[in-house]
Amino acid sequence: MNLRVSALALAAVFAATAALAGPKVVAGPGADAGCFKPWSDKTKFFQWEKKAGPYRIALVNGFVGNIWRIQMVKTAKAFAETPGIKENLKEFKVVSTGTDVAAQLGAMEDFINQGFDAIVTIAVAPDGFDRIIRLADKNNVVVVPFDNILDTDKVMMVNEDQHAMGVMSAHWLIDQMGKTAGDILEVRGLPGNSVDRDRHVGFREVMEAAPNKFNITEVVGNWDPGTSQKVTADALAVHKHFDGVFTQGGSDGTVRAMMDVKHPFVPMSGEGENRFRVQIADYAKDGLKGMSYGQSPALVAIAMKAAISALQGNVMPQLVSIPIPVADYKTLKAGENYFPDLKADFFAPNQFLPCGVTFTAPQIMSQSEANTK
């Protein structure tokens, strides 16, 4: 047997089927550009064959069990009930498959087999979905990864620019410290993850560019407040003093660790946790010149909306860029972009008005499962 030749034959077969199924690459601009902003000038545009609604859509989540994911699932269920979306949905199913890539691939394939029209997903790994993409294209199913997206340009994806978050954080620290040298603490996220990698690279690009001479200490906080608090405490025990802090998540843990050892408040950039924003508001006058960018759990809503739009036959960007919701100690407003009265933690940024995502984080998190069903 000769696999080389067979590869060619197979490629020919797939080229033939690809013409019948999957998205066509077309010229822009795409539909609803206010909401679905293309990532860059080079972003391709996709168009699927128009299907008659209402649609069956599945959300295949991976890991479940932190606040961000729970808020994401609740946002998805609430969004599925909002007018304008509800009419387009015949069925909306949510499953969480854990960290196991085989289970996630299996769930996606099952939904393709069941005849779902679109699958919205947070991929557990940036690679390994080629087979599913092949099957989805064959069956004209729209797959929309968001948050942890794939290293491919064959599917439509929705995300915020993680690299820009790193760049933005670096500029913030340099501006607020008012100097180009000093000791910096960088608290990283979950290792081996595209989000962690991209934020880190963006941050380092600016901090390490001439003429800056920063001494950066790197610790791994796993985006978790407890872990962040511990590793920050360790770093403080060794280094005694930092002039600025950049954290990818679990931001309130890092602040608490600094308060525990009576470290003076310094300029800091962190995630969109409500607790962190409350800390910024409380201690800004003492020197916690904080900026809070947010990877919003409401990305799921935009991914769902993008899936529906694609099924309706609209031209869509291959990579949709969502603006990064940012607040700093000057722009924080109680009840608007942070919520000092609420004890439970959640991610404060949840609204994307250009996309019709109008509910706030407290509205989502105070809802019980029964209400959203």
Binding site: L3, I70, V95, G106, D110, A125, D127, G128, R134
Partner: protein, 367 residues
């Protein structure tokens, strides 16, 4: 009592697992819009294969009364190796260590290269298992601690090989092994590209299912019949008695871990082919190790060793997977799904241990 009835009585736990699985799986197919179709079977087989393989890997040391906590890590390490060895191209390989480049030669392109690559991957798995066995036997360390340590080493090697997920495994290999036999035949051009008339009844059978059956038939069944294989059971039953009977306990224990490593390697190899990439995913490795132990228990193998078998663990793994299949068909609130999964799992394990209620002599519980 007839021979068949006796055998059934000796395998109550296993038969319960099979029966329970068949009932649940039948309900799944009947509720699925495309139930009983080849596409659904292929999807199920793909999803189950790696876990089934890792569960079988766990079974062998467990039969010899030792848990292997490194199966998930070994699977991950072999997967990362596969992502370098199964690209299907002739690119020469080199190991970069601290600036030094150690050339490792290159594999031929096409089918021979892929086959050699797969053999190397399985050998790496068996080698990892052999190291486990040597550490346990000659290091005289409790298996659970020894494999915790070697597992950390294997995950370390995996991270070294793939700090970030990546690699590109041959697309045809992926397509051929993760679909039905018909797709396999048309990809590798056998049986008139799978169109031969006699082949038609088999074309819908999922390839991973066939692979699983072949591995068990060619490796597990003969092994169990050897003296070494029976010694593995004897160690789990009564190690002292096995030793006093003149059985080579050390050799059997090393063989058990080596075979476990080989099966874990099969799992890792398939996962890499299925995802056409390698990923040193630590939480995933942990999840597979835990699920492998759960599968072993559901499949009727005693964690104390000496009773059970690989086929039971395969059904245990399928049972474990089939529970989550239901979430895709029925509407269950997403945040309640882990709860349901736990309750059903507990029920499944409890059914297997119902025999405890009929035990007349409490001493029997200790075996």
């Amino acid at each position: 009592m007839s021979d068949l009835a006796l055998r059934a009585r000796q395998n109550v736990a296993f038969l319960t697992a099979v029966g329970l699985f068949l009932v649940v799986y039948l309900i799944y197919h009947m509720s699925h819009p495309k139930g009983f179709s080849s596409a659904v079977l292929v999807q199920n087989a793909d999803e189950v294969f790696t876990l089934a393989m890792v569960a079988v890997a766990q079974t062998v040391p467990v039969l010899a009364a030792g848990l292997d906590l490194s199966v998930g890590a070994l699977m991950t390490m072999v997967g990362c190796c596969a992502s370098y060895l199964l690209t299907g191209t002739t690119a020469s390989m080199a190991l970069e260590i601290a600036g030094y480049s150690l050339p490792l030669g290159s594999l031929p392109a096409g089918v021979p290269g892929l086959v050699i690559g797969m053999v190397i991957c399985l050998a790496i798995g068996a080698l990892g298992g052999l190291i486990n066995g040597l550490v346990v036997v000659y290091g005289r360390i409790q298996p659970i601690i020894a494999t915790l340590a070697t597992g950390a080493i294997y995950i370390g090697i995996a991270l070294f090989l793939r700090p970030q997920p990546g690699g590109k495994i041959d697309e045809d290999l992926n397509w051929a092994l993760t679909n039905s036999l018909g797709d396999f035949a048309s990809t590798v051009h056998i049986f008139s590209d799978g169109a031969a008339p006699w082949f038609a009844p088999f074309a819908g059978i999922p390839t991973p299912f066939v692979l699983l059956a072949l591995i068990l038939l060619i490796v597990w069944v003969p092994f169990r019949r050897t003296v070494t294989g029976r010694t593995v059971y004897a160690i789990g039953s009564a190690e002292g008695a096995a030793y006093m009977s003149g059985l080579n306990v050390n050799r059997a224990r090393i063989a058990a871990f080596t075979l476990g490593g080989f099966f874990a390697g099969c799992g890792g190899l398939f996962l890499a082919i299925q995802t056409s990439s390698g990923n040193a995913d630590i939480p995933q490795a942990g999840a597979y190790t835990l699920n492998s132990i759960a599968s072993v228990v559901i499949g009727g193998t005693s964690l104390l060793g000496g009773a059970g078998g690989a086929l039971g663990s395969v059904f245990g793994a399928m049972m474990l997977r089939v529970i989550s299949f239901f979430f895709r068909i029925f509407d269950i609130a997403p945040l309640l799904q882990p709860l349901f999964e736990g309750v059903i799992l507990l029920a499944a394990v409890s059914v297997g241990s119902l025999r405890v209620l009929r035990v007349k002599n409490t001493l029997e519980l200790f075996r």
